[in-house]
């Protein structure tokens, strides 16, 4: 049996890990408190209203965590421009053919379970990245509809930046509907997300689960070298193109 040499790669920077866990906590709290807001359980009866405030506290939690969620989300968008290559926004929005080719490969190997093959990526694989693009859109929808509903209750300028949202939908009816339905997207996403982490850890054995705690992933030497070569090729190609362009410019200038 062949043993593998593994290279340790620093994939998830500390801010990315913090973002992930704050986000996870927010989503759990927001889904639970949000669901309770939509369907309050009838566990309190026969008390004087002046002695109870649990529903108010539930809503308060929802609002507090929605602020944390919003700022955390904004931070992640910012980090997509200043973070390392695995946090870069180009992981999420397809900019070239290669992205789609990799996506198709992931579908074949990991979703349709092509026999005994594995797709080895270092950061997000292309399909995961593309799915996260839609997740970010869902984040935006939730922030827009949520703070749109909240704006009328607040005097602060920040939620009032969203006061135009209900007008788009003619009122709060549809806004609530969308806000509530999108919650289910988060629930279903979370189920699949956790499962796929387990799946990758199980099939690839490279520390997928622990990577979001320590930041490290362990990459097979061969895969790592291959990736390096590809990077080199790409850089060379870019250099060549730049040189060609510079040459063309010179020639034009001469002419």
């Amino acid at each position: 049996m062949a043993t593998h040499n593994l290279r340790r790669v620093f994939v998830w920077e500390l801010p990315v890990r913090f973002y992930h866990w704050i986000n996870a906590l927010c989503i759990v709290v927001l889904c639970v408190t949000g669901y309770i807001i939509a369907r309050p359980p009838a566990f309190q009866q026969g008390t004087e209203a002046s002695f109870a405030y649990w529903f108010g506290i539930n809503r308060f939690l929802h609002f507090v965590f929605s602020y944390i969620f919003l700022f955390n989300f904004i931070f992640r968008l910012y980090w997509g421009f200043v973070g390392n290559r695995y946090a870069d926004w180009k992981n999420f929005i397809p900019t070239n053919r290669k992205f789609f080719e990799e996506m198709w490969e992931v579908i074949k190997i990991d979703i349709l379970l092509q026999k005994d093959k594995e797709h080895l990526s270092i950061g997000h694989n292309a399909l995961a990245g593309f799915v996260y693009f839609f997740v970010f859109i869902a984040f935006a929808i939730q922030c827009l509809t949520g703070f749109g509903l909240y704006a009328a209750m607040s005097d602060w300028w920040l939620p009032n930046l969203f006061a135009w949202v209900p007008g788009l939908f003619g009122g709060d009816f549809d806004l609530r509907q969308i806000h509530h339905a999108t919650m289910w997207f988060f629930i279903i996403f979370s189920i699949i997300h956790v499962y796929l982490v387990f799946y990758h850890d199980y099939v690839e054995g490279r520390g997928e689960t622990s990577s979001i705690i320590g930041g490290w992933k362990f990459i097979e030497e061969e895969a790592f070298l291959q990736e390096m070569e590809e990077e080199k090729k790409e850089q060379e190609e870019e250099l060549r193109e730049m040189k060609i362009k510079a040459l063309e410019k010179k020639q034009k200038a001469k002419a």
Binding site: A52, L113, G171, I188
Partner: protein, 372 residues
């Protein structure tokens, strides 16, 4: 608004009708309070009604049930009905004017010709646009035609009620007559939306008095409703709100909680999504409002309230999935399908990727053995 010699002021008309100055001041105080003005505003209102000659008003009735007019003439202070909405004040309104037939049409045209750019056009009801507007015709002309003609010379337009503001019941799916709110048909005039089915009489009076007092339209929100009356949700001004925050809810209309007057949130009250003054101004001279009578708000002043049913449930039906489908049911089914899919995938993984997984296990064991 500049007084013109040929029209009496509001105060003059009042005195002619036998109201005392005391009655007049009482009215000014009441209406200023409803408008949310501070104490000094009372004098402003009194001054305006004394010195301004009455604003010519054309009040059109299209696809409506006249509940807006009914609400208006029953507003708490008699002066509202007597003066603001008097056959003298109102130059044209199908429901209340003395004239009829050609005479009425002539009166309307006279107002339009005499006070171009000065008269206020009040519209009650939506305007049907299908089949060239044949579904609503007055004096042989379609509502679309009449609206365009009367709107052209209006200083401002007030849309009374949900019909004029968002189409109300007749615009509910499938909207067979093409009932259209006026803001979609008239683009270049200031439009004040006063939604509700009907709007509260005091609110209507407040909007008109604001126009007369300040000579301009009241401050509007993004949708075009006067902020003074529509900036708060019914929920936020509801006297049952403490029950909501305490998590004390009516579970069904015949339970003990309903008797105790708990919050109606779980039996479909639309208070949390409805912007109106019902919780503050209330109805019938401030006697009550739906929630006080034990029935949830149905959101009559909100767009599409009719299609966002059922009224007695918190979550509305989810469009495109048939009756009795709400977001939670669909979500739960989707989550179930996801879990089933994952289970299938997990089994598939163990079958199809056996070699890979066995390889990992063997490699791990080999390392372990190498140590011993």
């Amino acid at each position: 608004m500049t007084p013109s010699s040929n029209r009496p002021t509001y105060y003059e008309e009042l005195r002619q009708k036998g109201y005392s100055r005391r009655d007049f001041m009482k009215f000014c105080t009441t209406i200023a309070a409803y408008m949310g003005l501070q104490a000094s505003g009372v004098a402003q209102v009194a001054e305006a009604l004394k010195s301004n000659s009455r604003v010519p008003v054309i009040w059109m009735h299209f696809q409506e049930c006249t509940c807006c007019s009914e609400s208006f003439i029953r507003s708490s202070h008699p002066i509202v009905a007597d003066v603001i909405l008097d056959k003298i004040s109102l130059d044209y309104t199908e429901t209340l004017m003395a004239a009829s037939g050609h005479q009425a049409e002539a009166a309307m045209h006279k107002t339009m010709e005499e006070y171009p750019g000065e008269y206020v056009l009040c519209v009650e009801g939506s305007v049907p646009v299908y089949e060239d507007g044949v579904y609503c015709c007055i004096g042989g002309r379609s509502a679309v035609d009449i609206l365009q003609e009367t709107a052209a010379g209006a200083k401002a337009i007030i849309g009374w009620g949900s019909c004029a503001c968002n189409g109300c019941v007749q615009a509910a799916k499938p909207n067979p007559t093409g009932a259209t709110p006026i803001h979609k048909l008239v683009k270049n005039k200031p439009i004040i939306k006063v939604p509700g089915c009907p709007p509260i009489g005091e609110v209507m009076a407040g909007v008109l008095v604001h126009l007369v007092t300040f000579g301009r339209i009241p401050e509007l929100d993004r949708i075009g409703r006067p902020k003074a009356f529509y900036s708060k949700r019914v929920h936020d001004t509801c006297y049952r709100r403490p029950f909501y925050d305490a998590g004390l809810f009516v579970e069904s209309f015949d339970d003990e909680n309903a008797q105790k007057g708990y919050c109606l949130y779980k039996v479909g009250c639309r208070g949390p999504m409805t912007y109106n003054a019902c919780g503050v101004t209330r109805w019938n001279n401030g006697v009550s409002f739906p929630i006080q009578s034990g029935h949830g708000c149905i959101g009559c002043s909100e767009e599409n309230f009719w299609d966002n049913g059922p009224f007695y449930r918190r979550l509305t039906n989810f469009p495109g999935f048939g009756i009795e489908s709400n977001a939670d049911k669909i979500g739960a089914v989707a989550a179930g399908v996801t879990v089933a899919g994952i289970a299938a995938h997990a089994i598939g993984t163990n079958l199809r990727k056996k070699k890979l997984i066995d390889g990992l296990v063997a490699e791990g064991k080999e390392s372990d053995q190498a140590l011993s």
